[in-house]
């Protein structure tokens, strides 16, 4: 392990999954996991396996849905895609994160 990697705060993984699906369109589990790792620049401590519980949670909330498809290498794979409710949820979460981040930033600047 080259550098220390940050733990993922609870709920952030859900946001990453939604955002990634929004940006990339339908993806399978491995693709999602790799994509999230790449985007975070390997700075996050994410077990690839941990996206599967997250996917189940998101699907039971009705924010994503799945479909069986075939990968580039002709493998049967489960593809996940954002639903309309998921898109709305993403907007809400992004907004809430930006607000939180702004407040934290403000607080840090103001503090002596």
């Amino acid at each position: 392990m080259a550098e220390s990697r940050a733990d993922v705060p609870y709920g952030v993984l859900d946001l990453f999954v939604l955002k990634t699906l929004d940006a990339m369109g339908p993806l399978h589990g491995f693709g999602l996991a790799r994509r999230i790792e790449q985007t975070s620049g390997q700075r996050l401590q994410i077990n690839q396996g941990s996206i599967y519980p997250a996917l189940l949670r998101l699907e039971q909330n009705g924010w994503i849905r799945h479909e069986w498809g075939t990968s580039e290498k002709n493998r049967r794979a489960k593809y996940y895609a954002l639903t309309d409710a998921g898109r709305r949820q993403l907007e809400r979460q992004v907004e809430s994160w930006e607000r939180t981040a702004a407040i934290v930033a403000l607080f840090l600047e103001a503090a002596p």
Binding site: H28, G29, F30, G31, A33, R34, N47, Q48, G49, S50, Y52, P53, A54, L56, R57, E59, Q60, N61, G62, S71, K73, R75, R76, A77, K78
Partner: protein, 885 residues
């Protein structure tokens, strides 16, 4: 939202193994893709595979994490806990049966008592928003009753700010001819809006339509439907036949519906308008029920009604009379005229019963807690292993709680069954004095079931809480390190305390029962002054124009007496105005003799022929009967009590007395005593507050007073004869359409004692259960303590202690527990007897012999419970005990 999550989850679950496979496939694909990528990066085949697995984090772990992420995960753990709990309970069946039995009996008893208390006190009016239901009474300086001129119903209906609805009813009695023999049926004519006003609807058919007020239609009660129409589903449209015409049945009310009282078995429409047009001063009377408006308080409506009524109808509401409201809650059940002492007594008795039932439940809880405690101790190792395997304290607690809930559920079911049986007994034993009362039948209804569920759950959780906290709160690893410390030490005080509490409560119950039993015994021991065995009273329903007036009724009853006297098996038959043990016409007034007077005498007058005394078994103690003066207008017999009250011993015959202004007694003219009859105790249960009235007998053939109303023929039958069928036929020989009731007098007398007997039986059952539980609890504790002390006892025996010494030591320890409890219990009982005092009548409440007996009984039960373990301890083989170390 949450529901949709569960639904999605449930849908996945229904696919079961297929969904599980899907995850396997998904993860396999994931790994294959990762391996491929790693190979492409130049790793070796083995390294690529290892890295892929490491990055994923392990297939099993992912699957577990996913299971936990599922929205129905809690259900999984719950089912797991339940399965595990059921297995634990099955593994120790004796423990399970004991706990379920103990808690079930406790829950059953409280539930049964709750069913009574709920019907009679808490929910006496089982209609929607019953607190807004009122009756409009005519009230004056000397009291009042539920009557209003029919015309005023319309006026009240116009007061929309006061009432949301105003309806009326009148009671009716008709002779039903649709069955085998003519039979009186109590019914009510109700304005069509009454059922909707009460918020009830028929279970079959329909309610009355608003324009149906004048039609010949009827709704019948559930019991009538079952007993008279065999529960026929096509009853709607069938006729309900009476001597004075038939009504077409349009509906059946549910079994729980009782209005205006429990005896009403059919309803027909009341035409308020037509009733208002007949009679004077605003039409014939009706009873009026109203629902208060939402924005009006009872007091406001009451004051307004009192102000309005005399303005509308000054003729009816004259000289201080007006309309007052009475809430239905106050009128029904034991709310009836709350100022009467006996109502308050009954109410106190019920609450007391409830408290005692709660005592039994507490004892049961303490007992179950002890059982759980010993069970938990023997499971210490199991919990340690589970904790070592990674189960958190919370999870262990939840496991114990789940077991408690399982036990509670079983106990609740058992309790409900037990309560159902008890309630059946109670319903038969509830005395008729509850009267118009009990609009809410005493049965296991929804409220009672919820009560049982809550009681069982609370009891189960209370019983497991202490052991659960003790077990889980300990250092769970300790038992794994061997048996160096005594696990029982920490529990000793708790267990001893629980036993003491049980014993204390048991003593309280025992003393209560003994006192009630003594009171009942005193009651049953009272010489009634007449002979109820082999006596039968015939009561034909003499209604209608044919039986108007004293002459017609007297003639009929005399004829009937002659006919019945000729029936085989009948020794004697006499017509009578009253017979003992029936609510009698009682008169109050000043009673004068030549030398003395009673300012406020309570008397009952009975017009009888001479043979009545023989038929009733009442002895003539002085003078003679009515033989010689059968028609003398001024001859009278008085009861022993009255003679003793008025004249010196033996001097009554020949004296004269009168009650001025009492029409029932010869219009107040002087009467001459021709004999003294034995006093009859009609009111043995009434206690000092309701003394027996003095009896005054007048000749059957004399002219009779204004209020005279002959009702009975009293028949004395031969020993072993059962001529009841033949007796009824004699009535129908005279009038085939006449309904007749046959009262077996010993049953009537027994019914008068139904309530004290019921209370005592119930209390005895409570006490017996309490003592059993306390004894069993002591046994469990002593058995556990002695087994934990096997080594110590072994050493003692090795050092030369005799068997007797060991037994003495164990017994004295157990006696310490029960004696502490008994002492506490005696204190509690002293307080209890003060509450019981009104129910105990003659017996002196604080009775040291009773107290001593109860304490001795309990100590004996404790000694019996401790005896087995003590003997077992005495047999301890010192070598075996020491070798175990």
């Amino acid at each position: 939202m949450i529901l949709r999550r569960w639904l999605t989850s449930a849908r996945t679950r229904l696919r079961g193994a297929a969904a599980e496979h899907e995850l396997d496939d998904e993860l396999r694909t994931h790994l294959e893709m990762a391996v491929e990528e790693n190979l492409a990066r130049g790793m070796s085949e083995r390294e690529a595979r290892r890295t892929a697995h490491r990055d994923l984090g392990g297939v099993t772990a992912v699957k577990e994490a996913r299971r936990q992420a599922d929205s129905l995960y809690w259900l999984d753990t719950l089912l797991q806990d339940l399965r595990y709990g059921a297995r634990v309970l099955r593994r120790s069946p004796r423990f399970t049966v004991a706990v379920v039995l103990v808690l079930g009996l406790g829950v059953g008893m409280t539930t049964a008592v709750f069913a009574i208390v709920d019907s009679v006190l808490l929910n006496a009016v089982p209609f929607a928003e019953a607190h807004r239901l009122v009756e409009l009474h005519r009230f004056g300086p000397t009291g009042g009753g539920p009557s209003q001129p029919a015309a005023m119903v319309e006026s009240w209906r116009d007061e929309r700010t006061l009432f949301d609805g105003v309806e009326a009813y009148v009671r009716v009695e008709r002779v039903f001819t649709g069955g085998g023999e003519p039979e009186t049926m109590q019914g009510a004519r109700i304005s069509p809006g009454l059922l909707p006003l009460l918020g009830v609807a028929p279970e079959l058919g329909r309610a009355f339509a608003l324009d149906e007020a004048a039609d010949a239609v009827a709704i019948v009660s559930h019991s009538t439907w079952l007993t008279r129409f065999g529960g026929d589903a096509d009853i709607v449209g069938r006729p309900l036949r009476f001597t004075d015409g038939a009504l077409t049945i349009v509906g059946v009310m549910p079994a729980s519906f009782r209005f205006p009282d429990a005896y009403t078995v059919f309803w027909e429409p009341l035409d308020v308008g037509r009733r208002a047009a007949s009679g004077d001063a605003g039409g014939h009377r009706v009873s009026v029920v109203a629902r208060l408006g939402r924005d009006v308080t009872f007091e406001q409506a009451d004051a307004r009604a009192a102000a309005l009524a005399p303005q509308w109808n000054p003729e009816w509401f004259s000289t201080g009379y007006t309309t007052r409201l009475r809430s239905l809650n106050q009128l029904a059940g034991l709310g009836v005229d709350g100022q009467f002492a006996w109502v308050q007594q009954r109410r106190a008795a019920l609450f007391l019963l409830f408290g005692l039932a709660a005592c039994v439940l507490l004892i049961a809880c303490a007992n179950a807690a002890n059982l759980f405690l010993s069970q938990a101790l023997s499971r210490t190792r199991e919990f340690a292993i589970r904790a070592a395997a990674g189960a958190g304290r919370l999870r262990l607690c939840r496991q114990l709680l789940t077991e408690a809930v399982l036990v509670s559920a079983l106990a609740g079911l058992l309790g409900l069954a037990f309560a159902g049986w008890l309630v059946g007994l109670a319903d038969a034993a509830v005395p008729p004095e509850f009267g118009r009362g009990v609009l809410n039948p005493i049965d296991v209804d929804g409220r009672v079931v919820s009560w049982a569920a809550v009681a069982a759950l609370l009891a189960g959780v209370a019983a497991t809480l202490a052991p659960a906290l003790r077990t889980v709160g300990r250092d769970l690893m300790q038992p794994m390190q061997g048996s160096a410390s005594d696990p029982a030490r920490g529990h000793g005080r708790l267990r001893g305390g629980l036993v003491a509490v049980q014993n204390a409560l048991a003593v309280v119950l025992l003393i209560g029962t003994l006192l009630m039993g003594r009171a009942l015994w005193t009651l049953l021991d009272v010489d009634l002054g007449w002979t109820a065995e082999n006596a039968v009273a015939l009561e034909p329903r003499l209604a209608g124009p044919r039986y108007e007036g004293v002459e017609a009724r007297s003639r009929f009853l005399a004829q009937l007496a002659d006919l019945t006297a000729a029936v085989p098996g009948v020794e004697l038959a006499a017509p009578a105005e009253q017979v003992p043990s029936f609510a009698s016409m009682i008169s109050f007034g000043r009673l004068d003799t030549d030398d003395a007077d009673i300012a406020q005498a309570v008397v009952t007058t009975n017009y009888v022929p001479n043979r009545y005394f023989a038929a009733a078994g009442i002895p003539i103690l002085e003078g003679r009967g009515f033989d010689a003066d059968a028609a003398a207008a001024d001859a009278a017999l008085v009861s022993r009590d009255l003679a003793d009250r008025l004249w010196p011993p033996g001097a009554a015959v020949g004296q004269r007395f009168r009650m001025p202004g009492l029409a029932a007694l010869n219009d107040g003219d002087w009467l001459t005593v021709v004999g003294v009859a034995g006093s009859v105790h009609t009111n043995a249960f009434g206690g000092a507050e309701r003394p027996d009235p003095y009896e005054i007998y007048l000749p059957w053939a004399s002219r009779g007073g204004l209020w005279r109303q002959p009702r009975f023929v009293l028949v004395r039958t031969a020993e072993g004869a059962d001529p009841i069928g033949l007796l009824k036929e004699q009535v129908w020989r005279l009038d085939p359409a006449l309904p007749v009731t046959v009262h077996a007098m010993d049953d009537v007398v027994a019914a008068a004692f139904a309530q004290p007997r019921f209370l005592t039986t119930l209390l005895a059952a409570f006490a017996l259960l309490a003592v059993l539980l306390a004894g069993a609890g002591l046994y469990a504790v002593v058995a556990y303590e002695t087994s934990a002390r096997t080594q110590e006892i072994g050493v003692r025996v090795a050092l030369g202690a005799t068997r007797g010494a060991v037994i003495r030591q164990v017994l004295s320890r157990s006696l310490l527990h029960s004696a502490t409890g008994a002492a506490l219990g005696l204190l509690g009982a002293a307080a209890l007897t003060r509450l019981l005092a009104p129910l105990l009548n003659a017996t002196t409440a604080t009775n040291s012999a009773t107290f001593a007996a109860a304490a001795a009984f309990l100590l004996a039960a404790g000694a019996a419970g401790a005896w087995l373990p003590a003997r077992r301890a005495a047999r301890t083989d010192p070598m075996a005990a020491l070798r175990a170390e």
